[in-house]
């Protein structure tokens, strides 16, 4: 053996733990550094643009009188469907591709990793909002220019805030379902069931049962978000939003994080 003495302890005095901002930056990078991730981002942007162009040509062709909020609503469809998928995949791809093994050996605090992922999707929500608000403004302005009608803006700051909440809720709910199931197909399918099938079932139940009709806004997160979409949310609708949000977002997220903390990473 060529050494006669050796360190028996790791000299960690000059090493600080990985800064949280760096974890967030790495997680943002991971969203776009694979073909699948990059194309999902491109698809979201392209579909949003496409919907806007169609909407603009329809309102111009049929002589309709849209307001700014109508364009925001139009874009909410592609964003609302695809952003949550990104939210699901942010968590689940680590498990389906088994990269969690590497991620968690470089940062053993799993809660920090999950938090960094969550912050990264919050940042994506902000970017989505900026893109959406600007595209909507552009469409509204073009509508005014082409139709010669007066453009109606409503209260764009308030609407911007509402749509930010919508994008965050969508992505965060997808994220929560991803954390809950730790499996991409399951997370996405369950999210779509929650997002498209459940509202119909709740709607039928509410139509058939009076008592359920008054309960629905409190337990149906999709329903309670509708006030944000058309910008009419007021009064105790905020409370309903909070209660249903705890049920469909906070609870699955909490269980999911608990599960990730305890899960054996294979």
């Amino acid at each position: 053996m060529s050494v006669t003495t050796a360190p028996t302890t790791l000299d960690v005095s000059h090493t600080s733990s990985v800064p949280f901002a760096r974890l967030v930056a790495v997680e943002l990078r991971k969203l776009a550094d694979t073909r699948a991730g990059r194309w999902l981002l491109i698809a979201i942007a392209a579909l949003t643009l496409l919907v806007l162009i169609i909407q603009l040509s329809v309102v111009l062709g049929q002589g309709l009188h849209p307001k700014y909020v109508d364009f925001l609503q139009g874009m909410n469809t592609p964003m609302g469907i695809l952003l949550p998928v990104l939210g699901v995949l942010t968590v689940t791809s680590e498990w389906s591709q088994r990269t969690a093994m590497v991620t968690f050996t470089l940062e053993p605090s799993r809660v920090r990793v999950v938090a960094a992922k969550f912050v990264s999707i919050l940042l994506i929500s902000v970017v989505a909002l900026v893109v959406g608000v600007l595209l909507g403004a552009l469409a509204n302005t073009m509508y005014g220019a082409f139709s010669g009608h007066t453009v109606v803006w409503g209260s764009p700051v308030k609407l911007g805030f509402y749509y930010l909440l919508l994008y965050i809720f969508g992505m965060a709910t997808g994220f929560a379902f991803g954390a809950l199931f730790l499996n991409s197909p399951a997370g996405i399918v369950i999210y779509f069931v929650y997002s498209f099938v459940l509202p119909t079932i709740f709607g039928i139940a509410a139509a058939l049962m009076n008592w359920f009709e008054s309960l629905q806004p409190w337990i149906d997160f999709n329903f309670s978000q509708s006030g944000l979409i058309d910008g009419t949310i007021a009064g105790n609708e905020w409370a309903k939003l909070a209660v249903s949000g705890i049920l469909w977002l906070v609870l699955p997220l909490a269980i999911g994080v608990w599960r990730i903390r305890r899960a054996e990473v294979k």
């Binding site: 003495t5 790791l10 990985v18 550094d33 694979t34 470089l106 053993p108």
Partner: protein, 324 residues
């Protein structure tokens, strides 16, 4: 802090104490205790399913132990700040996003650890992945290339400890030799290497110490020579071939040595030096003379881990008698 044990020996960098991991009633790792010293390569050897990977996963905090404790440099893995800078880990070369390029895999690691991105190029060069290969997606990598990428990833943060699970798996013979040199040099510079394998020959030439595990328990440990001595019960054998085997056999038998024919030569129960002396005394020309215990280690390995072997070797074809 630098220190030497009370007896002057090197002190442990990795300490595993009473480690047990149970899955329900199945005990994957059963109360194992061992140490890896700095400046050495420790081989962790056992058949598939013996508990090697589980042990390594517990070491780096991916699997919680049922009982027992593991420390690296006196710290639990989770308490090591920016652990990639201190402990290089390769647990499964295939556990990489298939859609990322090899370079991007290293880039993510380098960024997490806060390394300059020039480090990525250095590592790619070290493991001989060229510019074109590094831009290909991991999906299109052979197992050997993934293994090289994994080794590059483990070495990124200039760690002082390496924990590698089956690093030679998928490497071609030249690749295995390359890795052997790499790890030997790393240990010579004071690093601690802990690597596993299910193949004896991958480990025996590089490991300063070997730990044999079977059924979740440590069945033997020691240097190659110590294990060999145990394997043969302290009795040495020599393989020898002479121009005139008949004459040599008679000369050896006259000395009271036990001689059997083996292949084209003879197997003698004695040290090579004694056999050589007899040949010199009788002016017999030898064409081959070597210690005949090599197979002993493999025998020991198979015997000690027999309970977990899936394949049972017929008695008459033990490994030591298979011609090399």
């Amino acid at each position: 802090m630098w220190s030497v044990g009370r007896d002057g020996s090197l002190v442990a960098m990795i300490k595993v104490e009473g480690l047990t991991r149970a899955y329900g009633s199945f005990i994957a790792v059963d109360d194992i205790t061992f140490e890896c010293r700095a400046g050495t390569v420790t081989g962790f050897l056992g058949p598939n399913g013996a508990g090697k990977t589980t042990t390594m996963r517990v070491m780096v905090g991916l699997t919680p132990p049922t009982r027992g404790d593991v420390t690296i440099g006196g710290l639990h893995y989770k308490d090591i700040p920016n652990p990639g800078r201190h402990v290089g880990v390769l647990l499964d070369a295939s556990a990489q996003h298939a859609g990322r390029t090899g370079r991007e895999v290293l880039e993510i690691g380098a960024r997490t650890m806060g390394l300059p991105s020039g480090r990525v190029d250095e590592m790619l060069e070290l493991v001989s992945l060229d510019a074109r290969e590094s831009k290909r997606r991991v999906r299109n990598y052979s197992l050997g290339m993934r293994q090289r990428l994994g080794i590059a990833h483990a070495l990124l943060g200039e760690p002082t400890v390496l924990i590698l699970d089956e690093p030679a798996n998928g490497l071609d013979p030249a690749g295995i030799r390359w890795m052997r040199g790499l790890l030997q040099g790393y240990a010579d510079r004071g690093g601690t290497v802990f690597l596993s394998s299910h193949l004896l020959h991958e480990v025996e030439q590089i490991a300063d110490e070997m730990i044999l595990i079977g059924n979740g328990r440590i069945v033997a440990r020691g240097t190659r020579d110590e294990l060999l001595r145990d394997a043969t019960g302290g009795v040495s054998t020599t393989l020898v071939t002479a121009l005139d085997n008949q004459q040599l056999a008679e000369a050896l038998t006259d000395k009271g040595l036990v001689v059997h024919t083996a292949g084209e030569g003879l197997r003698v129960t004695a040290e090579p030096v004694d056999v050589g002396r007899v040949a010199a005394d009788h002016q017999i020309v030898l064409t081959d003379l070597r210690a005949g215990n090599e197979g002993g280690l493999e025998d020991l390995f198979l015997e000690l881990t027999a309970d977990t072997q899936r394949d049972v070797l017929p008695n008459e074809v033990t490994a030591s008698e298979v011609p090399a």
